[in-house]
Symmetry: C2
Subunit: 205 residues, 2 copies
C-alpha cells in the first residue's frame, strides 16, 4: 500500500529540504532510502507524477505535496491518555509539533501524576475527559494506558469529537464507531530484530 | 515480506494460547486478524504448512513454531542506551521479558540519572559501556538517545559483541559493520493516522 510508505518519503524529503537540497533524482533518492528507483517512480506516479524526466524531483514541491496527502498542512489537537513514562516521552517529542500535532491535554488516574505539568500542559484526572473534549475539541487521542484499561478508555471516546486513536496499549483495539485506530506494537520490530540475529547465527555458526 | 507479518501472527497466537484455545481455522483467524484466509494459508505455508485440511491449526504448535522462527526460543541480553522517559518506558514493559528479552544494563550521560535503579538495573555512565559489554556480553542495544547523539553512540558498538540495534533515535542509522539495525519511526504511524482523518474529512464534509 503506497500510503503506508509516504511517511518515510516525507521524512527523507524533510531532511533534504532542511539541508537546502533543491532537486533529487529517483536514483539518488533510491540510494539514500535503500529501495529501488523504479519503486520510487511507481509510488510517486500514483499521486500524480511529481518528477520531470531527466530533471529529477523538486524537493520542496514534493515535500509539500506529500505533506498535503498526509494531512500535515493542517493542525491537529491531540490529547494523551496515560501520563506514565511513554506518555511523557511522546509529549516531549518536539517533532510532532513541527508536523502540526499540538498537545492540548493529558489525562491519568494516578493522584501522584494528576496536577503535574508536562510541556506546558497540566495532567487532568480522567473524570474531566468528557468536559475537556467538549470544550477543547481535540481530534486525536494517544492511548498509553495499560492493556486492561485500553478498551474501557476507548469506549468513552465516541461522541466526544475524537476522530483518531493512536494506540500504544499493546492491545489491538477494534475501532469504535466513527474513529480510526492506528495500533502501535513496539515489540513487533524487536521480534523482527531477534529473527535477523538468530537467522544470521545459524548461518555463521 | 512474510517475515514482517510473523510478529503479528505470534501476538494473536499468544493471546489464543493464553485463553486456552487449542485449534483455530484459517477462517476464524482471518476474521480476528482482519486479513483474508487465503493470505493466512499462504503465509503459514511458506514455513512448512502447519495446518491440516479441515482441522485448522494447532494453536500451541503454531505458536511455538513461529516463536522459533522469530528467535524467541532463546534468550537475549539487552541494554538500553538513553535512560530518559522512553528508555524507562521500554525498561518497564513486562512483555519483553516474557518473550525472552532480558534487560541487563542501562546507560546515560546525565548525572541526575546515572546511579538510579530501573527494573533492578543501575543506570551507568556511558564511559562504562565498553567494559560492561566485554563483561556481560549483551547482544541487543536499544537506542533511545537524541538524534544528534545516535550516530556517535552507534559507532561505538562494533567490536563490543552487539549484534542488533533497536533504534528509537528518530535518525535512520546505516548499520555499522556486522550489526543489524531496526529503525523505529514512531511518527510514521501518526502520519498514517492524520492521512486517514484528513481523507475522511474531505469525503464527509
Amino acid at each position: 500500500m503506497v500510503i503506508r510508505r509516504l511517511p518515510r518519503y516525507f521524512r527523507y524529503l524533510s531532511d533534504l529540504h532542511a539541508a537546502g537540497v533543491e532537486r533529487i533524482s529517483s536514483t539518488e533518492l533510491s540510494r539514500k532510502m535503500h529501495v529501488t528507483a523504479s519503486q520510487i517512480r511507481h509510488d510517486l506516479n500514483c499521486f500524480g507524477g511529481f518528477g520531470q524526466q531527466g530533471y529529477g524531483y523538486n524537493v520542496e514541491q514534493l515535500h509539500k505535496a506529500i505533506g498535503d496527502i498526509l494531512g500535515l498542512s493542517r493542525h491537529y489537537k491531540l490529547i494523551i491518555i496515560g501520563a506514565g513514562n511513554l506518555g511523557h516521552a511522546l509529549a516531549n517529542y518536539a517533532g510532532f509539533v513541527r508536523r502540526g500535532f499540538r498537545l492540548v491535554g493529558m489525562f491519568d488516574i494516578d493522584p501522584d501524576v494528576v496536577g503535574k505539568t508536562v510541556q506546558g500542559v497540566t495532567v487532568e484526572h480522567m473524570d474531566a475527559l468528557e468536559a475537556f473534549c467538549k470544550r477543547e475539541k481535540p481530534e486525536i487521542a494517544v492511548l498509553t494506558v495499560s492493556k486492561p484499561a485500553a478498551v474501557e478508555v476507548a469506549n468513552r471516546l465516541p461522541g466526544l469529537g475524537i476522530r483518531g486513536i493512536w494506540n500504544f496499549s499493546f492491545m489491538e483495539l477494534t475501532p469504535p464507531e466513527g474513529i480510526y485506530v492506528e495500533n502501535v506494537h513496539l515489540s513487533d520490530s524487536l521480534m523482527t530484530l531477534s529473527q535477523h540475529i538468530t537467522a544470521n547465527s545459524e548461518i555463521t555458526q
